[in-house]
């Protein structure tokens, strides 16, 4: 059976159809779940896609965390379910407390739209389990607030627990320790600034994102089979 993935849609989300398309291409069964829902409808995994949830008003992700669906996403994560936040989705997950730290404005105050190289530095997450350790992936970034920050104790913890899953090869935004993506203690919640769904076909300039989304589907399938 295909892995069921809930793709969360807030007002202002704009990458949900790209994520749906790639997950379908890879054999998954994604479904859009609107932010007012209180249930994920039995999905095996969750993607919080990019965009500008609730207009990014106040702070990126600040209002989205109070959308009704986020309680269900939190429960899913607490139960070990795979949750991946991409770009604005990463910002939402940090605001919701599902991942530590915050994303501040890029150093240099520039909106960045480019394809960058990211190194897989940990494969202990649901998003990177299928990637080769040390592999360099070409992935597009598209953000103004992608400059990851956390306190020194949190950074030590992330390093000690091998939770920094992706690092920029050439840091584009000032992110602490070149961090492009991190995961939770269990590895089931992942947030990353680059867009793997936009690197899913050679015709887009890179297909390096496929290995990440395939890992997520594999984790979802494993969870479905275990249920």
């Amino acid at each position: 059976m295909s892995a069921r993935v809930a793709v969360i849609v807030f007002p202002g989300t704009n990458c949900e159809l790209d994520v749906m398309h790639v997950l379908e291409q890879l054999g998954g069964a994604p479904e859009l779940v609107f932010h007012t829902e209180t249930s994920l409808g039995g999905a095996d995994a969750v993607v919080v896609p990019g965009g500008f949830a609730h207009g990014d008003y106040l702070r990126t992700g600040a209002l989205a965390r109070f959308s009704p669906v986020m309680a269900a996403v939190g429960e899913h994560a607490a139960g070990g379910g795979p949750v991946v936040g991409i770009c604005n989705g990463f910002q939402v997950l940090t605001e919701a407390g599902l991942l530590p730290g915050a994303l501040q404005k890029n150093a240099g105050l520039k909106f960045l739209c480019a394809t960058v190289e990211c190194r897989v530095d940990s494969t202990r997450s649901v998003l990177t389990a299928g990637a080769a350790p040390g592999a360099v992936l070409r992935l597009p970034i598209n953000h103004f607030e992608g400059n990851y920050i956390c306190d020194a104790a949190t950074l030590d913890q992330l390093r000690a627990d091998d939770r920094i899953v992706l690092r920029y090869v050439d840091n584009p935004n000032g992110a602490l320790d070149d961090i492009a993506g991190i995961c939770s203690e269990q590895g089931n919640v992942v947030g990353l600034m680059p867009h793997p769904e936009r690197a899913s076909d050679a015709v887009l300039g890179s297909a390096d994102g496929v290995v990440l989304l395939q890992s997520l589907l594999d984790a979802a399938t494993a969870r479905s089979a275990a249920a």
Binding site: L58, R59, A62, L63, F66, T94, E95, P100, G101, A102, Q104, K105, N106, A107, G108, L109, N147, I149, C150, D151, G174
Partner: protein
């Protein structure tokens, strides 16, 4: 009683303030060469009903902790002003 709360949300010390830094770099171009610090944050004003000023402050602190500021990167200062009754 009605109170106005003014909440000054600013970057925590050590957190980069790229907006402030950029404005600071542009001021000398206008001839203001004596500016040594520029910080850009947010000012939030809200009006609320509360039994007294202490109760109003307690509630605004809670709002800051839960929504108005992100403690990972931001600090806040609260000023509470009692509004004259509408008569």
């Amino acid at each position: 009683m009605q109170f106005q709360a003014r909440i000054d949300v600013k970057h925590l010390p050590g957190i980069a303030d790229p907006q402030g830094a950029t404005v600071q770099r542009s001021l000398p171009a206008l001839g203001y060469t004596n500016v040594s610090e520029v910080h850009i944050g947010k000012l939030i004003r809200l009006v609320l009903d509360a039994p007294d000023e202490v109760a109003a402050r307690v509630q605004v602190v809670e709002m800051c902790e839960r929504l108005l500021a992100n403690p990972v990167i931001e600090a806040y200062e609260i000023e509470i002003i009692e509004l004259a009754p509408n008569t």
